[in-house]
Protein backbone atom coordinates (compact mmCIF):
# COMPACT_ATOMS: atom_id res chain seq x y z
CA UNK A 1 0.00 0.00 0.00
CA UNK A 2 2.81 2.41 0.92
CA UNK A 3 4.52 1.76 -2.39
CA UNK A 4 1.37 1.90 -4.50
CA UNK A 5 0.34 5.20 -2.93
CA UNK A 6 3.74 6.73 -3.63
CA UNK A 7 4.18 5.39 -7.17
CA UNK A 8 0.68 5.71 -8.64
CA UNK A 9 -1.03 9.08 -8.50
CA UNK A 10 -4.83 8.84 -8.41
CA UNK A 11 -6.82 9.30 -11.61
CA UNK A 12 -8.81 12.11 -9.98
CA UNK A 13 -5.63 14.17 -9.52
CA UNK A 14 -4.49 13.42 -13.08
CA UNK A 15 -7.88 14.57 -14.39
CA UNK A 16 -7.62 17.74 -12.30
CA UNK A 17 -4.14 18.44 -13.75
CA UNK A 18 -5.59 18.11 -17.26
CA UNK A 19 -8.53 20.35 -16.46
CA UNK A 20 -6.16 22.87 -14.87
CA UNK A 21 -4.01 22.76 -18.00
CA UNK A 22 -7.02 23.61 -20.18
CA UNK A 23 -8.07 26.49 -17.96
CA UNK A 24 -4.70 27.96 -16.93
CA UNK A 25 -4.03 31.40 -18.42
CA UNK A 26 -0.31 31.60 -17.66
CA UNK A 27 2.06 29.95 -20.16
CA UNK A 28 4.47 29.02 -17.36
CA UNK A 29 1.55 27.65 -15.36
CA UNK A 30 0.49 25.47 -18.28
CA UNK A 31 4.03 24.22 -18.70
CA UNK A 32 4.24 23.28 -15.01
CA UNK A 33 0.96 21.33 -15.14
CA UNK A 34 2.29 19.44 -18.15
CA UNK A 35 5.51 18.64 -16.28
CA UNK A 36 3.50 17.34 -13.32
CA UNK A 37 1.51 15.03 -15.61
CA UNK A 38 4.77 13.78 -17.11
CA UNK A 39 6.26 13.29 -13.62
CA UNK A 40 3.29 11.20 -12.50
CA UNK A 41 3.57 9.08 -15.66
CA UNK A 42 7.27 8.42 -15.05
CA UNK A 43 6.60 7.49 -11.42
CA UNK A 44 3.91 5.03 -12.48
CA UNK A 45 5.88 3.48 -15.33
CA UNK A 46 9.17 3.15 -13.50
CA UNK A 47 7.60 2.46 -10.08
CA UNK A 48 9.52 5.22 -8.30
CA UNK A 49 8.17 7.80 -5.84
CA UNK A 50 6.46 10.75 -7.59
CA UNK A 51 7.88 12.97 -4.84
CA UNK A 52 11.03 12.43 -2.77
CA UNK A 53 9.00 13.28 0.32
CA UNK A 54 7.19 9.98 0.71
CA UNK A 55 5.33 11.45 3.62
CA UNK A 56 4.22 10.74 7.13
CA UNK A 57 2.17 7.54 6.98
CA UNK A 58 -1.26 8.75 8.08
CA UNK A 59 -3.72 5.90 8.44
CA UNK A 60 -7.48 5.99 8.80
CA UNK A 61 -8.96 2.77 10.16
CA UNK A 62 -12.64 2.01 10.02
CA UNK A 63 -13.11 -1.00 12.20
CA UNK A 64 -16.44 -2.83 11.97
CA UNK A 65 -17.83 -3.47 15.45
CA UNK A 66 -18.46 -7.13 14.61
CA UNK A 67 -14.81 -7.68 13.74
CA UNK A 68 -12.64 -9.51 16.23
CA UNK A 69 -8.93 -9.32 15.57
CA UNK A 70 -6.86 -12.23 16.81
CA UNK A 71 -3.21 -13.08 16.99
CA UNK A 72 -1.60 -9.79 17.96
CA UNK A 73 -1.70 -6.04 18.24
CA UNK A 74 -3.39 -4.37 15.24
CA UNK A 75 -1.41 -1.12 15.61
CA UNK A 76 1.85 -3.07 15.76
CA UNK A 77 0.86 -4.94 12.62
CA UNK A 78 0.19 -1.65 10.83
CA UNK A 79 3.48 -0.21 12.05
CA UNK A 80 5.28 -3.28 10.74
CA UNK A 81 3.53 -2.81 7.38
CA UNK A 82 4.73 0.78 7.17
CA UNK A 83 8.26 -0.27 8.14
CA UNK A 84 8.32 -2.96 5.45
CA UNK A 85 6.62 -0.87 2.77
CA UNK A 86 8.98 2.09 3.20
CA UNK A 87 12.09 -0.08 3.48
CA UNK A 88 11.41 -2.54 0.64
CA UNK A 89 10.02 0.16 -1.63
CA UNK A 90 13.03 2.49 -1.35
CA UNK A 91 10.73 5.19 0.03
CA UNK A 92 12.23 8.08 1.99
CA UNK A 93 12.27 7.79 5.76
CA UNK A 94 11.17 11.18 7.00
CA UNK A 95 10.25 10.62 10.64
CA UNK A 96 12.27 11.69 13.70
CA UNK A 97 11.50 9.97 17.00
CA UNK A 98 11.26 13.16 19.07
CA UNK A 99 10.27 16.60 17.75
CA UNK A 100 13.09 18.34 19.64
CA UNK A 101 15.83 15.70 19.71
CA UNK A 102 15.20 14.98 15.99
CA UNK A 103 16.80 11.58 15.44
CA UNK A 104 15.51 9.74 12.37
CA UNK A 105 13.79 6.46 13.22
CA UNK A 106 15.18 4.99 9.99
CA UNK A 107 12.04 3.17 8.87
CA UNK A 108 9.40 5.92 8.63
CA UNK A 109 7.59 4.63 11.73
CA UNK A 110 5.60 5.30 13.76
CA UNK A 111 2.54 6.01 11.62
CA UNK A 112 -0.27 8.32 12.76
CA UNK A 113 -3.38 6.17 13.14
CA UNK A 114 -6.96 7.44 13.41
CA UNK A 115 -9.50 4.77 14.31
CA UNK A 116 -13.24 4.89 13.96
CA UNK A 117 -15.60 2.12 15.08
CA UNK A 118 -18.39 1.60 12.56
CA UNK A 119 -21.23 -0.93 12.17
CA UNK A 120 -20.47 -4.04 10.15
CA UNK A 121 -17.87 -6.73 9.79
CA UNK A 122 -15.24 -5.10 7.61
CA UNK A 123 -11.94 -3.40 8.30
CA UNK A 124 -11.21 -0.49 5.99
CA UNK A 125 -7.63 0.80 5.93
CA UNK A 126 -6.87 4.07 4.16
CA UNK A 127 -3.27 5.20 3.88
CA UNK A 128 -2.64 8.86 3.07
CA UNK A 129 1.11 9.63 3.00
CA UNK A 130 1.42 13.32 3.89
CA UNK A 131 4.29 15.55 2.81
CA UNK A 132 5.85 17.98 5.27
CA UNK A 133 5.98 21.04 3.02
CA UNK A 134 2.23 21.37 2.64
CA UNK A 135 1.50 20.23 6.21
CA UNK A 136 3.71 23.08 7.47
CA UNK A 137 1.55 25.66 5.69
CA UNK A 138 -1.67 24.39 7.33
CA UNK A 139 -3.33 26.40 10.08
CA UNK A 140 -6.09 26.28 12.66
CA UNK A 141 -8.00 29.17 14.22
CA UNK A 142 -10.56 29.28 17.00
CA UNK A 143 -12.95 31.91 15.63
CA UNK A 144 -15.87 33.63 17.28
CA UNK A 145 -19.40 32.57 16.25
CA UNK A 146 -19.92 36.24 15.26
CA UNK A 147 -17.17 35.87 12.62
CA UNK A 148 -19.61 33.69 10.67
CA UNK A 149 -19.17 32.48 7.14
CA UNK A 150 -17.36 35.67 6.08
CA UNK A 151 -14.79 35.10 8.80
CA UNK A 152 -14.32 31.51 7.64
CA UNK A 153 -13.84 32.63 4.03
CA UNK A 154 -11.31 35.29 4.99
CA UNK A 155 -9.34 32.81 7.08
CA UNK A 156 -9.17 30.21 4.30
CA UNK A 157 -8.05 32.87 1.81
CA UNK A 158 -5.44 34.19 4.27
CA UNK A 159 -4.03 30.71 4.79
CA UNK A 160 -3.78 30.24 1.01
CA UNK A 161 -2.17 33.66 0.53
CA UNK A 162 0.33 33.11 3.31
CA UNK A 163 1.24 29.66 1.95
CA UNK A 164 1.84 31.03 -1.57
CA UNK A 165 4.46 28.97 -3.42
CA UNK A 166 5.60 26.97 -0.36
CA UNK A 167 3.20 23.97 -0.31
CA UNK A 168 3.85 22.98 -3.98
CA UNK A 169 0.74 24.35 -5.68
CA UNK A 170 -1.53 23.30 -7.28
CA UNK A 171 -2.84 22.17 -3.90
CA UNK A 172 -6.00 20.73 -2.40
CA UNK A 173 -7.45 22.59 0.57
CA UNK A 174 -9.16 20.51 3.25
CA UNK A 175 -11.29 22.72 5.48
CA UNK A 176 -12.70 21.48 8.80
CA UNK A 177 -15.34 23.69 10.40
CA UNK A 178 -16.81 23.02 13.85
CA UNK A 179 -16.28 20.50 16.63
CA UNK A 180 -13.46 21.17 19.06
CA UNK A 181 -9.91 22.17 18.20
CA UNK A 182 -8.65 18.65 17.47
CA UNK A 183 -11.91 17.67 15.76
CA UNK A 184 -11.65 20.58 13.30
CA UNK A 185 -8.09 19.54 12.42
CA UNK A 186 -9.16 15.95 11.87
CA UNK A 187 -12.14 17.03 9.73
CA UNK A 188 -9.79 19.07 7.56
CA UNK A 189 -7.53 16.05 7.03
CA UNK A 190 -10.50 13.76 6.32
CA UNK A 191 -11.78 16.28 3.78
CA UNK A 192 -8.57 15.76 1.79
CA UNK A 193 -9.51 12.11 1.23
CA UNK A 194 -12.57 12.98 -0.83
CA UNK A 195 -12.25 12.39 -4.54
CA UNK A 196 -11.42 15.53 -6.50
CA UNK A 197 -14.35 16.52 -8.69
CA UNK A 198 -16.94 14.99 -6.33
CA UNK A 199 -19.62 17.29 -4.95
CA UNK A 200 -20.18 18.05 -1.26
CA UNK A 201 -23.42 16.39 -0.07
CA UNK A 202 -24.44 19.59 1.70
CA UNK A 203 -25.59 22.00 -1.06
CA UNK A 204 -24.62 25.09 0.98
CA UNK A 205 -21.13 23.72 1.58
CA UNK A 206 -20.87 22.73 -2.10
CA UNK A 207 -21.55 26.38 -2.99
CA UNK A 208 -19.02 27.58 -0.42
CA UNK A 209 -16.41 25.20 -1.84
CA UNK A 210 -16.93 26.61 -5.33
CA UNK A 211 -16.74 30.19 -4.11
CA UNK A 212 -13.56 29.55 -2.12
CA UNK A 213 -11.94 27.73 -5.03
CA UNK A 214 -12.56 30.70 -7.29
CA UNK A 215 -11.31 33.16 -4.68
CA UNK A 216 -8.07 31.33 -3.88
CA UNK A 217 -7.35 30.85 -7.57
CA UNK A 218 -7.98 34.54 -8.19
CA UNK A 219 -5.12 35.38 -5.81
CA UNK A 220 -2.92 34.86 -8.89
CA UNK A 221 -0.42 32.60 -7.09
CA UNK A 222 -0.73 29.88 -9.74
CA UNK A 223 1.13 26.57 -10.18
CA UNK A 224 4.32 26.56 -8.08
CA UNK A 225 3.58 30.16 -7.11
CA UNK A 226 5.03 31.46 -10.36
CA UNK A 227 1.82 33.25 -11.31
CA UNK A 228 -1.43 31.95 -12.75
CA UNK A 229 -4.94 30.89 -11.84
CA UNK A 230 -4.45 27.29 -10.73
CA UNK A 231 -3.39 27.56 -7.10
CA UNK A 232 -5.90 24.96 -5.92
CA UNK A 233 -7.38 21.98 -7.73
CA UNK A 234 -10.17 21.68 -5.15
CA UNK A 235 -11.50 22.95 -1.83
CA UNK A 236 -13.16 20.28 0.32
CA UNK A 237 -15.17 21.17 3.43
CA UNK A 238 -16.27 18.97 6.32
CA UNK A 239 -18.39 20.28 9.17
CA UNK A 240 -19.41 19.06 12.62
CA UNK A 241 -21.56 20.35 15.47
CA UNK A 242 -19.91 23.21 17.40
CA UNK A 243 -20.10 24.54 20.98
CA UNK A 244 -22.31 27.64 21.45
CA UNK A 245 -19.12 29.64 22.16
CA UNK A 246 -16.95 28.31 19.34
CA UNK A 247 -16.28 28.36 15.62
CA UNK A 248 -13.11 26.32 15.08
CA UNK A 249 -11.73 26.37 11.53
CA UNK A 250 -8.82 24.27 10.31
CA UNK A 251 -7.23 24.40 6.88
CA UNK A 252 -5.09 21.41 5.95
CA UNK A 253 -3.16 21.87 2.73
CA UNK A 254 -2.20 18.96 0.51
CA UNK A 255 0.36 19.36 -2.24
CA UNK A 256 -0.46 18.10 -5.74
CA UNK A 257 0.94 14.69 -4.77
CA UNK A 258 -2.41 13.92 -3.16
CA UNK A 259 -1.75 10.28 -2.41
CA UNK A 260 -4.09 7.77 -0.90
CA UNK A 261 -4.70 4.07 -1.09
CA UNK A 262 -7.59 2.16 0.40
CA UNK A 263 -8.27 -1.53 1.11
CA UNK A 264 -11.29 -3.22 2.65
CA UNK A 265 -10.76 -6.53 4.47
Amino acid sequence: MCQEANFNLGEDVMEAFKKGYEQEVSATGKEILQILIKNAEIAREEQVPMCQDCGYAVIFLELGQDVHIEGGDLYEAITEGVRKGYTDGYLRKSIVSHPLERKNTGDNTPPVIHTKIVPGENLKITLAPKGGGSENMSQIKMMKPADGVEGVKNFVIDVAKNAGPNPCPPVILGVGIGGTMEKAALLAKEALLREIGSKNEDPEMAKLEEELLEKVNNLGVGPQGLGGRTFALAVHIKTYAAHIASLPVAVNINCHAARHKEVIL
Partner: protein
Protein backbone atom coordinates in the same frame (compact mmCIF):
# COMPACT_ATOMS: atom_id res chain seq x y z
CA UNK B 1 10.96 32.04 -22.88
CA UNK B 2 14.73 32.55 -22.98
CA UNK B 3 16.73 29.57 -21.82
CA UNK B 4 20.21 30.07 -20.41
CA UNK B 5 22.82 27.39 -19.89
CA UNK B 6 25.18 27.63 -16.93
CA UNK B 7 28.03 25.38 -15.85
CA UNK B 8 29.35 25.31 -12.30
CA UNK B 9 31.38 26.77 -10.65
CA UNK B 10 29.72 30.14 -11.21
CA UNK B 11 31.26 33.58 -11.24
CA UNK B 12 29.74 36.91 -10.16
CA UNK B 13 29.34 37.74 -13.85
CA UNK B 14 27.38 34.51 -14.47
CA UNK B 15 24.78 35.35 -11.86
CA UNK B 16 24.69 39.12 -12.31
CA UNK B 17 23.26 38.77 -15.79
CA UNK B 18 20.35 36.60 -14.59
CA UNK B 19 16.89 38.11 -14.21
CA UNK B 20 13.76 36.81 -12.54
CA UNK B 21 11.58 34.56 -14.69
CA UNK B 22 14.44 33.27 -16.82
CA UNK B 23 14.70 29.53 -17.28
CA UNK B 24 18.16 28.16 -16.64
CA UNK B 25 19.66 24.74 -17.38
CA UNK B 26 22.47 23.92 -14.97
CA UNK B 27 25.29 21.49 -15.67
CA UNK B 28 28.27 20.43 -13.57
CA UNK B 29 28.69 19.74 -9.85
CA UNK B 30 26.06 20.82 -7.34
CA UNK B 31 25.84 20.06 -3.63
CA UNK B 32 22.80 19.11 -1.56
CA UNK B 33 21.86 20.09 1.95
CA UNK B 34 18.71 20.66 3.96
CA UNK B 35 17.78 21.45 7.56
CA UNK B 36 20.17 19.30 9.59
CA UNK B 37 23.17 19.69 7.26
CA UNK B 38 22.72 23.47 7.20
CA UNK B 39 22.70 23.58 10.97
CA UNK B 40 25.98 21.65 11.10
CA UNK B 41 27.61 23.80 8.41
CA UNK B 42 26.65 27.08 10.03
CA UNK B 43 27.74 25.79 13.46
CA UNK B 44 31.16 25.16 11.90
CA UNK B 45 31.26 28.64 10.37
CA UNK B 46 30.31 30.22 13.69
CA UNK B 47 33.04 28.20 15.43
CA UNK B 48 35.58 29.55 12.92
CA UNK B 49 36.09 26.12 11.34
CA UNK B 50 35.33 27.07 7.73
CA UNK B 51 37.99 24.66 6.47
CA UNK B 52 35.99 21.74 7.93
CA UNK B 53 32.92 22.44 5.74
CA UNK B 54 31.95 19.50 3.48
CA UNK B 55 32.74 21.70 0.45
CA UNK B 56 34.03 25.20 -0.22
CA UNK B 57 30.88 27.27 -0.98
CA UNK B 58 32.79 29.69 -3.23
CA UNK B 59 31.21 29.72 -6.70
CA UNK B 60 28.97 26.77 -5.87
CA UNK B 61 25.27 25.92 -5.91
CA UNK B 62 23.46 24.23 -3.05
CA UNK B 63 20.29 22.25 -3.74
CA UNK B 64 17.78 21.93 -0.89
CA UNK B 65 16.78 18.29 -1.22
CA UNK B 66 16.58 15.03 0.66
CA UNK B 67 16.41 12.35 -2.04
CA UNK B 68 14.46 9.14 -1.63
CA UNK B 69 16.72 6.04 -1.42
CA UNK B 70 18.34 4.89 -4.65
CA UNK B 71 16.75 1.79 -6.16
CA UNK B 72 19.26 -0.81 -7.40
CA UNK B 73 20.52 0.00 -10.88
CA UNK B 74 19.68 3.68 -10.65
CA UNK B 75 21.81 6.80 -10.15
CA UNK B 76 19.67 8.43 -7.49
CA UNK B 77 16.18 8.27 -5.98
CA UNK B 78 13.44 10.80 -6.62
CA UNK B 79 14.75 14.23 -5.73
CA UNK B 80 12.61 17.33 -6.01
CA UNK B 81 13.25 20.50 -3.99
CA UNK B 82 12.20 21.00 -0.39
CA UNK B 83 10.71 24.25 0.95
CA UNK B 84 13.50 26.82 1.20
CA UNK B 85 12.36 29.10 4.04
CA UNK B 86 13.58 26.57 6.60
CA UNK B 87 17.14 27.25 5.37
CA UNK B 88 16.68 31.05 5.61
CA UNK B 89 18.33 31.35 9.05
CA UNK B 90 21.48 29.74 7.60
CA UNK B 91 21.61 30.89 3.96
CA UNK B 92 23.13 34.39 4.39
CA UNK B 93 26.27 32.89 6.01
CA UNK B 94 26.81 30.67 2.96
CA UNK B 95 26.24 33.47 0.44
CA UNK B 96 28.76 35.50 2.44
CA UNK B 97 31.34 32.74 1.86
CA UNK B 98 30.79 32.99 -1.89
CA UNK B 99 27.88 30.62 -2.55
CA UNK B 100 26.45 31.78 -5.87
CA UNK B 101 23.05 30.10 -5.87
CA UNK B 102 20.60 27.94 -3.99
CA UNK B 103 17.86 25.79 -5.49
CA UNK B 104 14.61 25.07 -3.67
CA UNK B 105 10.95 26.01 -3.77
CA UNK B 106 8.99 28.73 -2.02
CA UNK B 107 9.58 32.18 -0.61
CA UNK B 108 12.85 33.52 0.85
CA UNK B 109 13.14 35.94 3.76
CA UNK B 110 14.07 39.61 3.30
CA UNK B 111 17.42 38.79 4.97
CA UNK B 112 18.26 36.17 2.35
CA UNK B 113 17.17 38.45 -0.51
CA UNK B 114 19.38 41.20 0.96
CA UNK B 115 22.34 38.78 1.28
CA UNK B 116 21.95 37.81 -2.37
CA UNK B 117 22.10 41.47 -3.38
CA UNK B 118 25.10 42.16 -1.19
CA UNK B 119 27.19 39.08 -2.03
CA UNK B 120 26.00 38.59 -5.64
CA UNK B 121 23.90 35.47 -5.44
CA UNK B 122 20.65 34.17 -6.87
CA UNK B 123 17.84 31.82 -5.86
CA UNK B 124 16.42 29.30 -8.28
CA UNK B 125 13.19 27.33 -8.00
CA UNK B 126 12.93 23.77 -9.24
CA UNK B 127 9.45 22.28 -9.66
CA UNK B 128 8.29 20.99 -6.30
CA UNK B 129 6.95 17.47 -6.52
CA UNK B 130 8.35 16.76 -9.99
CA UNK B 131 10.86 14.51 -8.27
CA UNK B 132 10.82 11.50 -10.59
CA UNK B 133 11.37 13.77 -13.61
CA UNK B 134 14.09 15.90 -11.97
CA UNK B 135 16.08 12.74 -11.10
CA UNK B 136 16.61 12.22 -14.84
CA UNK B 137 18.94 15.22 -15.06
CA UNK B 138 21.23 13.83 -12.34
CA UNK B 139 24.01 11.81 -13.89
CA UNK B 140 25.90 10.75 -10.77
CA UNK B 141 25.44 11.10 -7.04
CA UNK B 142 27.55 10.40 -3.97
CA UNK B 143 27.37 11.25 -0.29
CA UNK B 144 30.32 13.46 0.70
CA UNK B 145 29.43 14.31 4.30
CA UNK B 146 27.15 13.52 7.25
CA UNK B 147 26.03 10.02 6.16
CA UNK B 148 24.45 9.62 9.61
CA UNK B 149 21.76 12.09 8.50
CA UNK B 150 20.34 9.63 5.96
CA UNK B 151 18.31 11.53 3.34
CA UNK B 152 19.66 14.76 4.86
CA UNK B 153 23.31 13.89 4.16
CA UNK B 154 25.32 16.21 1.90
CA UNK B 155 25.48 14.75 -1.60
CA UNK B 156 27.54 15.79 -4.59
CA UNK B 157 25.51 15.54 -7.78
CA UNK B 158 26.79 15.77 -11.33
CA UNK B 159 23.90 17.28 -13.26
CA UNK B 160 23.20 17.89 -16.92
CA UNK B 161 20.67 20.50 -18.01
CA UNK B 162 19.02 20.57 -14.59
CA UNK B 163 15.96 22.84 -15.14
CA UNK B 164 15.31 25.81 -12.82
CA UNK B 165 13.70 29.25 -12.88
CA UNK B 166 15.29 32.43 -11.48
CA UNK B 167 13.08 33.58 -8.57
CA UNK B 168 15.39 36.12 -6.88
CA UNK B 169 18.16 37.90 -8.78
CA UNK B 170 21.09 40.07 -7.65
CA UNK B 171 18.94 43.19 -8.00
CA UNK B 172 16.50 42.03 -5.33
CA UNK B 173 13.75 41.05 -7.79
CA UNK B 174 11.17 38.49 -6.64
CA UNK B 175 9.32 36.40 -9.23
CA UNK B 176 6.72 35.23 -6.70
CA UNK B 177 5.60 38.81 -6.11
CA UNK B 178 5.72 39.74 -9.80
CA UNK B 179 3.68 36.65 -10.80
CA UNK B 180 0.88 37.56 -8.41
CA UNK B 181 0.84 41.14 -9.72
CA UNK B 182 0.17 39.87 -13.23
CA UNK B 183 -2.41 37.19 -12.49
CA UNK B 184 -4.34 38.36 -9.41
CA UNK B 185 -7.98 39.21 -10.09
CA UNK B 186 -8.82 42.41 -8.25
Amino acid sequence: MTQIRLTTPLTDADVEKLRIGQQVLISGLIYTGRDAAHKRMVDLINAGKVNELPFDPKGQIIYYVGPSPTKPGRVVGSCGPTTSYRMDPYAPELYKLGLKASIGKGKRSPEVIEAMKEYKGVYFAAIGGAAALIAKSIKSAKVIAYPDLGAEAVHEFVVEDFPVVVVNDTLGGDLYQEGIKIYAVK
